[in-house]
Protein backbone atom coordinates (compact mmCIF):
# COMPACT_ATOMS: atom_id res chain seq x y z
CA UNK A 1 0.00 0.00 0.00
CA UNK A 2 1.22 3.47 -0.66
CA UNK A 3 0.68 6.75 1.14
CA UNK A 4 -2.76 8.23 0.55
CA UNK A 5 -2.98 10.53 -2.42
CA UNK A 6 -2.79 14.22 -1.63
CA UNK A 7 -6.16 15.84 -1.17
CA UNK A 8 -5.50 19.57 -1.40
CA UNK A 9 -2.06 20.21 -2.79
CA UNK A 10 1.05 18.22 -3.50
CA UNK A 11 2.19 15.76 -0.85
CA UNK A 12 5.54 17.11 0.27
CA UNK A 13 6.14 14.54 3.03
CA UNK A 14 9.34 12.53 2.78
CA UNK A 15 9.94 8.85 3.31
CA UNK A 16 13.32 7.25 3.96
CA UNK A 17 14.77 3.82 3.62
CA UNK A 18 14.99 2.41 7.14
CA UNK A 19 17.91 0.60 8.61
CA UNK A 20 18.83 -1.07 11.87
CA UNK A 21 21.54 0.50 13.93
CA UNK A 22 23.06 -0.14 17.32
CA UNK A 23 23.30 3.46 18.39
CA UNK A 24 25.73 4.63 21.03
CA UNK A 25 24.27 6.47 23.99
CA UNK A 26 26.17 9.76 24.17
CA UNK A 27 24.23 11.35 26.96
CA UNK A 28 21.02 11.05 28.87
CA UNK A 29 19.61 13.61 31.23
CA UNK A 30 16.41 14.15 33.07
CA UNK A 31 14.62 17.25 31.80
CA UNK A 32 11.62 17.29 34.08
CA UNK A 33 9.90 15.25 36.76
CA UNK A 34 8.92 12.54 34.31
CA UNK A 35 10.85 13.16 31.11
CA UNK A 36 14.29 12.54 29.70
CA UNK A 37 16.56 13.60 26.86
CA UNK A 38 18.60 10.92 25.19
CA UNK A 39 21.39 11.82 22.78
CA UNK A 40 22.47 9.05 20.46
CA UNK A 41 25.24 8.56 17.95
CA UNK A 42 23.49 6.97 14.99
CA UNK A 43 25.64 7.67 11.95
CA UNK A 44 23.59 5.43 9.68
CA UNK A 45 20.15 6.67 10.64
CA UNK A 46 20.76 10.37 11.28
CA UNK A 47 21.70 11.24 7.67
CA UNK A 48 18.58 9.48 6.37
CA UNK A 49 16.11 11.15 8.69
CA UNK A 50 13.60 13.94 8.20
CA UNK A 51 11.70 15.81 10.88
CA UNK A 52 8.45 14.15 11.89
CA UNK A 53 9.85 10.69 11.38
CA UNK A 54 10.30 8.37 14.32
CA UNK A 55 12.44 5.53 15.57
CA UNK A 56 11.62 2.16 17.02
CA UNK A 57 13.83 1.99 20.08
CA UNK A 58 14.66 -1.25 21.88
CA UNK A 59 14.47 -0.22 25.51
CA UNK A 60 17.12 -2.59 26.82
CA UNK A 61 20.70 -1.96 25.82
CA UNK A 62 22.23 -4.41 23.38
CA UNK A 63 23.98 -7.16 25.32
CA UNK A 64 27.39 -6.91 23.69
CA UNK A 65 30.46 -8.82 24.68
CA UNK A 66 28.54 -11.39 26.68
CA UNK A 67 29.95 -14.88 26.59
CA UNK A 68 26.74 -16.11 25.03
CA UNK A 69 25.95 -19.74 24.43
CA UNK A 70 26.12 -20.52 20.72
CA UNK A 71 22.84 -20.17 18.92
CA UNK A 72 21.14 -18.06 21.55
CA UNK A 73 21.46 -14.59 20.08
CA UNK A 74 18.54 -13.22 22.00
CA UNK A 75 20.30 -12.90 25.32
CA UNK A 76 18.55 -9.66 26.12
CA UNK A 77 15.32 -11.62 26.12
CA UNK A 78 11.87 -10.72 24.98
CA UNK A 79 10.46 -8.73 27.84
CA UNK A 80 9.61 -6.04 26.90
CA UNK A 81 8.88 -7.69 23.60
CA UNK A 82 8.38 -4.68 21.40
CA UNK A 83 10.46 -1.61 20.70
CA UNK A 84 8.99 1.78 21.59
CA UNK A 85 8.20 4.40 18.96
CA UNK A 86 9.82 7.76 19.71
CA UNK A 87 9.94 10.83 17.51
CA UNK A 88 13.23 12.38 16.54
CA UNK A 89 13.67 15.59 18.51
CA UNK A 90 16.96 17.07 17.34
CA UNK A 91 18.91 15.93 14.35
CA UNK A 92 22.51 16.41 13.29
CA UNK A 93 22.84 14.54 9.99
CA UNK A 94 26.46 15.62 9.43
CA UNK A 95 27.51 14.80 12.97
CA UNK A 96 25.64 11.51 12.78
CA UNK A 97 23.69 12.07 15.95
CA UNK A 98 20.12 12.65 17.01
CA UNK A 99 18.12 12.96 20.18
CA UNK A 100 14.79 11.85 21.50
CA UNK A 101 12.84 13.39 24.35
CA UNK A 102 10.44 11.09 26.09
CA UNK A 103 8.16 10.78 29.02
CA UNK A 104 8.40 7.81 31.39
CA UNK A 105 4.96 6.49 30.58
CA UNK A 106 5.37 2.90 31.66
CA UNK A 107 7.84 0.11 32.04
CA UNK A 108 9.47 0.41 28.62
CA UNK A 109 10.35 4.05 28.94
CA UNK A 110 11.41 3.52 32.56
CA UNK A 111 13.91 0.92 31.40
CA UNK A 112 15.06 3.26 28.64
CA UNK A 113 15.72 5.89 31.28
CA UNK A 114 18.34 3.59 32.78
CA UNK A 115 20.44 3.52 29.59
CA UNK A 116 23.88 4.96 30.31
CA UNK A 117 26.45 6.65 28.11
CA UNK A 118 28.57 4.03 26.40
CA UNK A 119 25.77 1.50 26.11
CA UNK A 120 24.20 0.72 22.75
CA UNK A 121 20.52 0.77 21.91
CA UNK A 122 19.11 -1.02 18.88
CA UNK A 123 17.18 1.39 16.66
CA UNK A 124 15.08 0.91 13.59
CA UNK A 125 14.58 4.00 11.50
CA UNK A 126 13.95 6.50 10.22
CA UNK A 127 10.32 5.40 10.02
CA UNK A 128 7.20 6.96 8.61
CA UNK A 129 6.46 10.10 6.65
CA UNK A 130 8.00 13.39 7.63
CA UNK A 131 6.40 16.79 7.92
CA UNK A 132 5.96 18.30 4.44
CA UNK A 133 9.06 19.77 2.86
CA UNK A 134 8.97 23.38 4.05
CA UNK A 135 10.94 24.82 1.15
CA UNK A 136 9.74 27.16 -1.56
CA UNK A 137 7.23 29.29 0.34
CA UNK A 138 9.46 31.53 2.36
CA UNK A 139 6.86 34.08 3.28
CA UNK A 140 4.06 31.73 4.20
CA UNK A 141 3.41 31.70 7.93
CA UNK A 142 4.17 28.37 9.57
CA UNK A 143 2.86 27.60 13.06
CA UNK A 144 4.38 24.75 15.01
CA UNK A 145 1.79 23.70 17.54
CA UNK A 146 2.81 21.17 20.13
CA UNK A 147 1.35 19.77 23.31
CA UNK A 148 3.18 17.77 25.98
CA UNK A 149 5.26 14.99 24.50
CA UNK A 150 4.16 16.19 21.09
CA UNK A 151 6.60 19.07 21.43
CA UNK A 152 9.90 17.20 20.82
CA UNK A 153 9.48 16.48 17.08
CA UNK A 154 8.87 20.18 16.49
CA UNK A 155 12.51 20.93 17.31
CA UNK A 156 14.07 19.42 14.20
CA UNK A 157 10.96 20.52 12.32
CA UNK A 158 11.77 24.12 13.26
CA UNK A 159 15.35 23.73 12.10
CA UNK A 160 14.21 22.25 8.79
CA UNK A 161 11.73 25.04 8.25
CA UNK A 162 14.40 27.65 8.99
CA UNK A 163 16.77 25.94 6.59
CA UNK A 164 14.01 26.06 3.99
CA UNK A 165 13.76 29.81 4.42
CA UNK A 166 10.65 29.79 6.60
CA UNK A 167 10.17 31.66 9.86
CA UNK A 168 8.29 29.17 11.99
CA UNK A 169 6.53 30.31 15.15
CA UNK A 170 6.08 27.76 17.92
CA UNK A 171 3.10 27.51 20.24
CA UNK A 172 3.88 24.95 22.88
CA UNK A 173 1.47 23.83 25.54
CA UNK A 174 1.48 21.71 28.63
CA UNK A 175 -0.32 21.45 31.93
CA UNK A 176 2.49 23.32 33.67
CA UNK A 177 6.03 24.57 33.10
CA UNK A 178 7.54 21.20 34.04
CA UNK A 179 5.69 19.50 31.20
CA UNK A 180 7.19 21.61 28.41
CA UNK A 181 9.46 18.74 27.37
CA UNK A 182 11.54 19.76 24.38
CA UNK A 183 10.51 23.41 24.37
CA UNK A 184 14.11 24.51 24.88
CA UNK A 185 15.15 22.41 21.90
CA UNK A 186 12.47 24.00 19.73
CA UNK A 187 13.69 27.45 20.66
CA UNK A 188 17.30 26.43 20.08
CA UNK A 189 16.31 25.24 16.64
CA UNK A 190 15.27 28.71 15.67
CA UNK A 191 11.56 29.04 16.29
CA UNK A 192 10.41 31.76 18.67
CA UNK A 193 8.42 29.92 21.34
CA UNK A 194 5.21 31.02 22.96
CA UNK A 195 4.58 28.75 25.91
CA UNK A 196 1.01 28.15 26.97
CA UNK A 197 0.23 26.35 30.21
CA UNK A 198 -3.03 25.35 31.74
CA UNK A 199 -1.90 26.45 35.19
CA UNK A 200 -0.16 29.57 33.97
CA UNK A 201 3.19 28.49 35.41
CA UNK A 202 4.94 29.33 32.14
CA UNK A 203 3.98 31.62 29.27
CA UNK A 204 0.33 32.50 28.98
CA UNK A 205 -2.40 30.60 30.77
CA UNK A 206 -4.75 28.58 28.61
CA UNK A 207 -4.68 26.12 25.74
CA UNK A 208 -2.46 26.37 22.68
CA UNK A 209 -5.53 26.54 20.51
CA UNK A 210 -6.67 29.68 22.34
CA UNK A 211 -3.51 31.41 21.17
CA UNK A 212 -3.50 29.76 17.76
CA UNK A 213 -7.02 31.05 17.15
CA UNK A 214 -5.74 34.63 17.49
CA UNK A 215 -2.69 34.10 15.30
CA UNK A 216 -4.07 31.98 12.50
CA UNK A 217 -4.87 33.48 9.11
CA UNK A 218 -6.31 31.81 6.02
CA UNK A 219 -3.59 30.18 3.96
CA UNK A 220 -1.28 29.71 6.91
CA UNK A 221 0.37 26.36 7.44
CA UNK A 222 0.26 24.45 10.73
CA UNK A 223 2.35 21.47 11.84
CA UNK A 224 1.03 19.97 15.01
CA UNK A 225 1.77 17.18 17.36
CA UNK A 226 0.19 16.39 20.69
CA UNK A 227 -2.63 14.58 22.44
CA UNK A 228 -5.67 13.57 20.36
CA UNK A 229 -7.95 16.21 21.85
CA UNK A 230 -5.46 18.93 20.96
CA UNK A 231 -5.01 17.63 17.44
CA UNK A 232 -8.75 17.51 16.96
CA UNK A 233 -9.04 21.12 18.11
CA UNK A 234 -6.22 22.21 15.78
CA UNK A 235 -7.90 20.33 12.96
CA UNK A 236 -11.22 22.10 13.52
CA UNK A 237 -9.59 25.49 13.86
CA UNK A 238 -7.58 25.12 10.67
CA UNK A 239 -10.56 23.86 8.74
CA UNK A 240 -12.61 26.82 9.93
CA UNK A 241 -9.83 29.29 9.08
CA UNK A 242 -8.86 27.76 5.77
CA UNK A 243 -5.35 26.93 6.99
CA UNK A 244 -3.40 23.90 5.86
CA UNK A 245 -2.69 21.57 8.76
CA UNK A 246 -0.40 18.58 9.12
CA UNK A 247 -0.88 16.46 12.19
CA UNK A 248 1.52 14.01 13.74
CA UNK A 249 -0.63 11.19 15.09
CA UNK A 250 0.47 8.62 17.69
CA UNK A 251 -0.99 5.16 18.02
CA UNK A 252 0.04 2.05 19.95
CA UNK A 253 2.29 0.17 17.55
CA UNK A 254 3.78 -3.26 17.19
CA UNK A 255 6.07 -3.24 14.14
CA UNK A 256 6.40 0.43 13.23
CA UNK A 257 7.13 -0.32 9.58
CA UNK A 258 3.81 -1.30 8.13
CA UNK A 259 3.31 -5.05 8.38
CA UNK A 260 1.14 -5.63 11.43
CA UNK A 261 -1.75 -3.18 10.88
CA UNK A 262 -1.73 -2.51 14.60
CA UNK A 263 -1.60 1.28 14.40
CA UNK A 264 -4.93 1.95 12.74
CA UNK A 265 -5.95 5.57 12.19
CA UNK A 266 -9.48 6.03 10.87
CA UNK A 267 -9.75 7.72 7.48
CA UNK A 268 -11.97 10.74 7.62
CA UNK A 269 -13.81 9.59 4.50
CA UNK A 270 -15.02 6.44 6.28
CA UNK A 271 -12.94 4.30 3.96
CA UNK A 272 -11.36 2.18 6.63
CA UNK A 273 -8.02 2.67 8.27
CA UNK A 274 -4.58 4.00 7.52
CA UNK A 275 -1.39 2.98 9.30
CA UNK A 276 0.09 5.60 11.59
CA UNK A 277 3.53 4.12 11.06
CA UNK A 278 3.87 4.29 7.27
CA UNK A 279 0.91 6.31 6.04
CA UNK A 280 1.85 8.80 8.80
CA UNK A 281 2.62 9.59 11.53
CA UNK A 282 2.28 12.98 9.84
CA UNK A 283 -1.08 13.20 8.10
CA UNK A 284 -2.85 15.96 6.25
CA UNK A 285 -5.47 17.08 8.73
CA UNK A 286 -8.34 16.42 6.37
CA UNK A 287 -7.42 12.83 5.72
CA UNK A 288 -7.81 11.32 9.16
CA UNK A 289 -10.00 11.17 12.19
CA UNK A 290 -7.45 11.90 14.90
CA UNK A 291 -9.56 10.98 17.91
CA UNK A 292 -8.53 7.52 18.96
CA UNK A 293 -11.75 5.60 19.54
CA UNK A 294 -10.88 4.22 22.96
CA UNK A 295 -8.24 5.97 24.95
Amino acid sequence: MEAPGPAGGPDRRRRSPWVREEALVLAQDQGGPDWFRLLLRAPRIAPLAWPGQFLQVAVRPVATGLPGPAGAPDLAGSDPLLPRPLSICTLDPEGGSLSVVYRVAGRGTALLASARPGERLALLGPLGLSFPDPGGAASRPLHLVGGGLGIPPLACAAAWARAGGRRPQALLGARGAAGLAGAAEVAACGAPVQAVTEDGSAGVRGLVTDVLRERLAPGDEVWSCGPPAMLAAVQRLCAAQGAEAWLCVERAMACGFGVCLGCAVARSDGGGFLRACVDGPVFRAGDVDVAEPRR
Binding site: L81, A254, G258, V259, G262, A264, R295
Partner: protein, 319 residues
Amino acid sequence: MRIMDGPPGARTGAAPLLAVDVAGIRCANPVWAASGCAGYGRELAAAWPLSALGALCVKGTSLEPWRGNPGPRVAETACGMLNAIGLQNPGVDHLLTRDLPWLVRQGTAVVVNIVGRTIEEYAAVARRLGDAPAGAVAGVELNISCPNVREGGLQFGADLGAAAEVTAAVREATSLPLLVKLSPNVTDVAAFAAAVERAGADGVSLINTLLGMRIDVAARRPILANLTGGLSGPACKPVALRMVWEVAGSVSIPVVGIGGIATGLDAAEFLLAGASAVQVGTAIFRDPWAPVRVRDELEAWLRAQGMASAREAVGAGRP
Protein backbone atom coordinates in the same frame (compact mmCIF):
# COMPACT_ATOMS: atom_id res chain seq x y z
CA MET B 1 26.38 -12.56 6.93
CA ARG B 2 25.54 -11.99 3.29
CA ILE B 3 21.91 -12.24 2.46
CA MET B 4 21.37 -14.22 -0.74
CA ASP B 5 19.97 -12.25 -3.58
CA GLY B 6 19.30 -14.85 -6.24
CA PRO B 7 16.09 -16.80 -6.71
CA PRO B 8 15.50 -19.80 -4.43
CA GLY B 9 16.98 -22.07 -7.08
CA ALA B 10 20.29 -20.31 -6.69
CA ARG B 11 20.37 -21.22 -3.06
CA THR B 12 19.04 -24.72 -3.56
CA GLY B 13 22.26 -25.49 -5.36
CA ALA B 14 24.39 -24.04 -2.61
CA ALA B 15 22.49 -25.39 0.34
CA PRO B 16 20.23 -28.37 -0.37
CA LEU B 17 20.56 -28.84 3.35
CA LEU B 18 17.59 -26.57 3.90
CA ALA B 19 15.28 -27.39 1.00
CA VAL B 20 11.93 -28.87 2.00
CA ASP B 21 8.71 -29.90 0.34
CA VAL B 22 5.73 -29.29 2.58
CA ALA B 23 2.41 -30.70 1.45
CA GLY B 24 3.43 -30.08 -2.13
CA ILE B 25 4.82 -26.61 -1.47
CA ARG B 26 8.47 -26.63 -2.52
CA CYS B 27 10.57 -24.27 -0.46
CA ALA B 28 14.21 -23.28 -0.46
CA ASN B 29 14.17 -23.60 3.30
CA PRO B 30 11.75 -24.42 6.10
CA VAL B 31 11.47 -20.89 7.49
CA TRP B 32 8.36 -19.04 6.40
CA ALA B 33 6.86 -15.70 7.33
CA ALA B 34 3.57 -16.06 9.22
CA SER B 35 0.36 -14.56 7.95
CA GLY B 36 -0.44 -11.09 9.22
CA CYS B 37 3.15 -10.49 10.26
CA ALA B 38 4.68 -9.73 6.89
CA GLY B 39 1.86 -7.96 5.08
CA TYR B 40 2.24 -8.64 1.37
CA GLY B 41 5.99 -8.61 1.57
CA ARG B 42 6.63 -5.08 0.31
CA GLU B 43 7.88 -3.61 3.56
CA LEU B 44 10.22 -6.49 4.34
CA ALA B 45 11.56 -6.51 0.79
CA ALA B 46 13.03 -3.12 1.61
CA ALA B 47 15.25 -4.83 4.16
CA TRP B 48 16.16 -8.17 2.57
CA PRO B 49 15.27 -10.17 -0.54
CA LEU B 50 12.09 -12.13 0.00
CA SER B 51 13.69 -15.05 -1.81
CA ALA B 52 15.50 -15.70 1.47
CA LEU B 53 12.20 -17.03 2.83
CA GLY B 54 11.00 -20.58 2.50
CA ALA B 55 7.57 -19.12 1.83
CA LEU B 56 5.59 -16.02 2.63
CA CYS B 57 2.09 -16.40 4.01
CA VAL B 58 0.24 -13.24 3.08
CA LYS B 59 -2.22 -11.45 5.34
CA GLY B 60 -5.59 -13.20 5.68
CA THR B 61 -7.39 -12.46 2.41
CA SER B 62 -11.13 -12.29 1.94
CA LEU B 63 -13.43 -12.08 -1.06
CA GLU B 64 -14.21 -8.40 -0.55
CA PRO B 65 -12.07 -5.88 1.31
CA TRP B 66 -12.47 -6.05 5.12
CA ARG B 67 -12.15 -2.95 7.31
CA GLY B 68 -10.79 -4.58 10.40
CA ASN B 69 -11.40 -3.56 14.00
CA PRO B 70 -11.13 -0.09 15.51
CA GLY B 71 -8.07 0.66 17.65
CA PRO B 72 -6.37 0.08 19.97
CA ARG B 73 -5.55 -3.09 18.13
CA VAL B 74 -2.33 -4.17 19.84
CA ALA B 75 -1.08 -4.42 23.40
CA GLU B 76 2.08 -5.86 24.80
CA THR B 77 2.08 -8.65 27.40
CA ALA B 78 4.87 -10.51 29.23
CA CYS B 79 7.06 -11.89 26.43
CA GLY B 80 4.13 -11.61 24.07
CA MET B 81 1.51 -9.36 22.58
CA LEU B 82 -2.19 -9.28 21.92
CA ASN B 83 -3.64 -8.26 18.58
CA ALA B 84 -7.15 -7.71 17.40
CA ILE B 85 -6.59 -6.49 13.85
CA GLY B 86 -9.80 -8.06 12.71
CA LEU B 87 -8.42 -9.31 9.40
CA GLN B 88 -8.24 -5.93 7.71
CA ASN B 89 -7.34 -6.67 4.10
CA PRO B 90 -8.00 -5.26 0.65
CA GLY B 91 -9.58 -8.43 -0.73
CA VAL B 92 -8.54 -11.16 -3.10
CA ASP B 93 -8.84 -9.07 -6.27
CA HIS B 94 -6.35 -6.57 -4.93
CA LEU B 95 -4.04 -9.45 -4.11
CA LEU B 96 -4.34 -10.96 -7.56
CA THR B 97 -3.90 -7.76 -9.49
CA ARG B 98 -1.52 -5.76 -7.32
CA ASP B 99 0.47 -7.79 -4.85
CA LEU B 100 0.76 -11.24 -6.33
CA PRO B 101 2.47 -10.27 -9.61
CA TRP B 102 4.99 -8.28 -7.62
CA LEU B 103 5.49 -11.08 -5.11
CA VAL B 104 6.11 -13.63 -7.84
CA ARG B 105 8.94 -11.49 -9.14
CA GLN B 106 10.59 -11.60 -5.72
CA GLY B 107 11.20 -15.31 -6.10
CA THR B 108 9.57 -16.56 -2.93
CA ALA B 109 6.87 -19.18 -2.60
CA VAL B 110 3.58 -17.42 -1.88
CA VAL B 111 1.06 -19.05 0.41
CA VAL B 112 -2.30 -17.31 0.50
CA ASN B 113 -3.98 -17.25 3.88
CA ILE B 114 -7.71 -17.13 3.20
CA VAL B 115 -10.62 -16.04 5.33
CA GLY B 116 -14.35 -15.83 4.89
CA ARG B 117 -17.56 -15.25 6.77
CA THR B 118 -19.25 -18.28 5.33
CA ILE B 119 -18.17 -21.54 3.79
CA GLU B 120 -19.17 -20.15 0.42
CA GLU B 121 -16.94 -17.10 0.88
CA TYR B 122 -13.98 -19.25 1.80
CA ALA B 123 -14.55 -21.42 -1.23
CA ALA B 124 -14.97 -18.39 -3.44
CA VAL B 125 -11.62 -16.94 -2.38
CA ALA B 126 -9.94 -20.28 -3.04
CA ARG B 127 -11.63 -20.49 -6.44
CA ARG B 128 -10.50 -16.97 -7.33
CA LEU B 129 -6.90 -18.01 -6.67
CA GLY B 130 -7.35 -20.32 -9.67
CA ASP B 131 -7.25 -17.16 -11.80
CA ALA B 132 -3.64 -16.57 -10.83
CA PRO B 133 -0.97 -17.62 -13.33
CA ALA B 134 0.15 -21.21 -12.81
CA GLY B 135 2.79 -21.39 -10.12
CA ALA B 136 2.14 -17.91 -8.79
CA VAL B 137 0.38 -19.24 -5.72
CA ALA B 138 2.33 -22.04 -4.06
CA GLY B 139 -0.38 -22.99 -1.64
CA VAL B 140 -3.45 -22.02 0.32
CA GLU B 141 -3.55 -21.67 4.09
CA LEU B 142 -7.13 -21.92 5.25
CA ASN B 143 -7.48 -19.72 8.31
CA ILE B 144 -10.24 -21.05 10.53
CA SER B 145 -8.61 -19.82 13.66
CA CYS B 146 -8.70 -16.05 13.87
CA PRO B 147 -9.95 -15.21 17.35
CA ASN B 148 -10.69 -11.59 16.49
CA VAL B 149 -13.64 -11.66 14.14
CA ARG B 150 -17.18 -12.60 14.93
CA GLU B 151 -17.69 -14.60 11.79
CA GLY B 152 -15.18 -16.69 9.93
CA GLY B 153 -12.78 -17.36 12.72
CA LEU B 154 -13.27 -19.60 15.69
CA GLN B 155 -16.79 -20.35 14.59
CA PHE B 156 -15.12 -22.77 12.17
CA GLY B 157 -11.96 -23.47 14.09
CA ALA B 158 -13.59 -24.57 17.32
CA ASP B 159 -16.23 -26.86 15.83
CA LEU B 160 -15.09 -30.18 14.42
CA GLY B 161 -17.95 -30.49 11.95
CA ALA B 162 -17.61 -26.96 10.65
CA ALA B 163 -13.84 -27.31 10.34
CA ALA B 164 -14.25 -30.41 8.21
CA GLU B 165 -16.99 -28.85 6.15
CA VAL B 166 -15.10 -25.69 5.26
CA THR B 167 -11.99 -27.74 4.51
CA ALA B 168 -13.93 -29.99 2.16
CA ALA B 169 -15.48 -27.00 0.41
CA VAL B 170 -12.13 -25.31 -0.12
CA ARG B 171 -10.61 -28.62 -1.19
CA GLU B 172 -13.34 -28.76 -3.87
CA ALA B 173 -12.59 -25.21 -4.92
CA THR B 174 -8.86 -25.49 -5.49
CA SER B 175 -6.26 -27.98 -6.54
CA LEU B 176 -3.49 -26.00 -4.88
CA PRO B 177 -1.70 -27.50 -1.90
CA LEU B 178 -4.02 -26.90 1.03
CA LEU B 179 -2.90 -26.23 4.58
CA VAL B 180 -5.48 -25.69 7.30
CA LYS B 181 -4.41 -23.34 10.06
CA LEU B 182 -5.64 -24.61 13.39
CA SER B 183 -6.68 -22.78 16.51
CA PRO B 184 -5.07 -23.50 19.87
CA ASN B 185 -8.25 -22.46 21.66
CA VAL B 186 -9.67 -25.97 21.66
CA THR B 187 -9.64 -28.95 23.99
CA ASP B 188 -8.24 -31.43 21.50
CA VAL B 189 -6.26 -29.94 18.66
CA ALA B 190 -5.31 -33.36 17.32
CA ALA B 191 -8.96 -34.11 16.70
CA PHE B 192 -9.18 -31.00 14.52
CA ALA B 193 -6.07 -32.01 12.64
CA ALA B 194 -7.52 -35.45 12.02
CA ALA B 195 -10.85 -33.98 10.92
CA VAL B 196 -9.32 -31.65 8.36
CA GLU B 197 -6.98 -34.39 7.19
CA ARG B 198 -9.97 -36.56 6.45
CA ALA B 199 -11.67 -33.62 4.75
CA GLY B 200 -8.81 -33.30 2.30
CA ALA B 201 -6.18 -31.02 3.81
CA ASP B 202 -2.65 -31.61 2.53
CA GLY B 203 -1.15 -30.28 5.74
CA VAL B 204 -1.92 -28.31 8.88
CA SER B 205 -0.29 -25.24 10.31
CA LEU B 206 -0.50 -24.31 13.97
CA ILE B 207 -0.86 -22.42 16.16
CA ASN B 208 -2.85 -19.32 15.50
CA THR B 209 -3.09 -17.02 18.51
CA LEU B 210 -4.37 -17.89 21.98
CA LEU B 211 -7.36 -15.80 22.99
CA GLY B 212 -6.28 -13.36 25.68
CA MET B 213 -6.98 -10.02 27.33
CA ARG B 214 -5.38 -7.09 29.10
CA ILE B 215 -7.12 -4.54 31.27
CA ASP B 216 -6.05 -0.94 31.68
CA VAL B 217 -6.28 -0.57 35.45
CA ALA B 218 -6.34 3.22 35.30
CA ALA B 219 -9.10 3.42 32.70
CA ARG B 220 -10.77 0.33 34.20
CA ARG B 221 -11.55 -1.32 30.91
CA PRO B 222 -9.91 -3.72 28.47
CA ILE B 223 -7.07 -2.16 26.51
CA LEU B 224 -8.16 -3.48 23.14
CA ALA B 225 -11.24 -1.95 21.60
CA ASN B 226 -12.23 -5.49 20.65
CA LEU B 227 -11.95 -6.41 24.38
CA THR B 228 -10.07 -9.64 23.67
CA GLY B 229 -7.22 -10.34 21.27
CA GLY B 230 -4.85 -13.06 20.16
CA LEU B 231 -1.72 -13.80 22.16
CA SER B 232 1.42 -14.37 20.11
CA GLY B 233 5.16 -14.28 20.65
CA PRO B 234 7.56 -16.26 22.88
CA ALA B 235 4.98 -16.47 25.67
CA CYS B 236 2.87 -18.89 23.60
CA LYS B 237 5.73 -21.04 22.34
CA PRO B 238 5.45 -23.85 24.90
CA VAL B 239 1.76 -24.29 24.08
CA ALA B 240 2.46 -24.19 20.34
CA LEU B 241 5.24 -26.75 20.61
CA ARG B 242 3.10 -29.11 22.65
CA MET B 243 0.29 -28.86 20.10
CA VAL B 244 2.66 -29.48 17.19
CA TRP B 245 3.98 -32.50 19.08
CA GLU B 246 0.45 -33.83 19.61
CA VAL B 247 -0.66 -33.23 16.05
CA ALA B 248 2.50 -34.55 14.41
CA GLY B 249 2.01 -37.73 16.39
CA SER B 250 -1.53 -38.23 15.22
CA VAL B 251 -1.87 -37.27 11.55
CA SER B 252 0.10 -38.36 8.53
CA ILE B 253 0.05 -35.04 6.69
CA PRO B 254 2.85 -32.53 7.27
CA VAL B 255 2.69 -29.99 10.05
CA VAL B 256 3.90 -26.40 9.89
CA GLY B 257 4.88 -25.14 13.34
CA ILE B 258 4.07 -21.58 14.44
CA GLY B 259 4.17 -19.73 17.71
CA GLY B 260 6.85 -17.64 19.35
CA ILE B 261 9.67 -18.65 17.07
CA ALA B 262 12.43 -16.05 17.32
CA THR B 263 15.68 -18.00 16.96
CA GLY B 264 17.10 -20.90 15.03
CA LEU B 265 16.96 -23.04 18.15
CA ASP B 266 13.26 -22.28 18.53
CA ALA B 267 12.80 -23.49 14.96
CA ALA B 268 14.87 -26.58 15.76
CA GLU B 269 12.54 -27.41 18.65
CA PHE B 270 9.56 -27.39 16.31
CA LEU B 271 11.31 -29.53 13.71
CA LEU B 272 12.33 -32.03 16.38
CA ALA B 273 8.71 -32.10 17.58
CA GLY B 274 7.63 -33.08 14.09
CA ALA B 275 7.07 -29.89 12.12
CA SER B 276 8.23 -29.96 8.49
CA ALA B 277 8.54 -26.20 8.37
CA VAL B 278 8.02 -23.25 10.68
CA GLN B 279 6.62 -19.76 10.46
CA VAL B 280 8.04 -16.66 12.07
CA GLY B 281 5.44 -14.10 13.08
CA THR B 282 5.65 -11.69 15.97
CA ALA B 283 9.46 -11.87 16.02
CA ILE B 284 9.38 -9.79 12.83
CA PHE B 285 7.93 -6.83 14.72
CA ARG B 286 10.87 -6.88 17.06
CA ASP B 287 13.42 -7.53 14.35
CA PRO B 288 12.46 -7.26 10.68
CA TRP B 289 15.41 -9.52 9.84
CA ALA B 290 14.14 -12.29 12.12
CA PRO B 291 13.16 -14.81 9.41
CA VAL B 292 16.57 -14.60 7.73
CA ARG B 293 18.33 -14.85 11.06
CA VAL B 294 16.23 -17.83 12.10
CA ARG B 295 17.05 -19.51 8.81
CA ASP B 296 20.77 -18.94 9.20
CA GLU B 297 20.79 -20.05 12.82
CA LEU B 298 18.79 -23.15 11.95
CA GLU B 299 21.26 -23.95 9.21
CA ALA B 300 24.15 -23.55 11.63
CA TRP B 301 22.43 -25.83 14.12
CA LEU B 302 21.74 -28.51 11.51
CA ARG B 303 25.40 -28.45 10.50
CA ALA B 304 26.56 -28.58 14.11
CA GLN B 305 24.33 -31.59 14.63
CA GLY B 306 25.85 -33.21 11.59
CA MET B 307 22.51 -33.46 9.87
CA ALA B 308 22.47 -33.80 6.12
CA SER B 309 19.14 -32.08 5.64
CA ALA B 310 16.43 -30.24 7.47
CA ARG B 311 14.19 -33.22 6.82
CA GLU B 312 16.44 -35.30 9.02
CA ALA B 313 15.54 -33.12 11.99
CA VAL B 314 11.78 -33.48 11.46
CA GLY B 315 10.41 -35.58 14.30
CA ALA B 316 13.90 -36.48 15.52
CA GLY B 317 13.00 -35.36 19.05
CA ARG B 318 10.21 -37.92 19.32
CA PRO B 319 10.74 -41.18 21.19
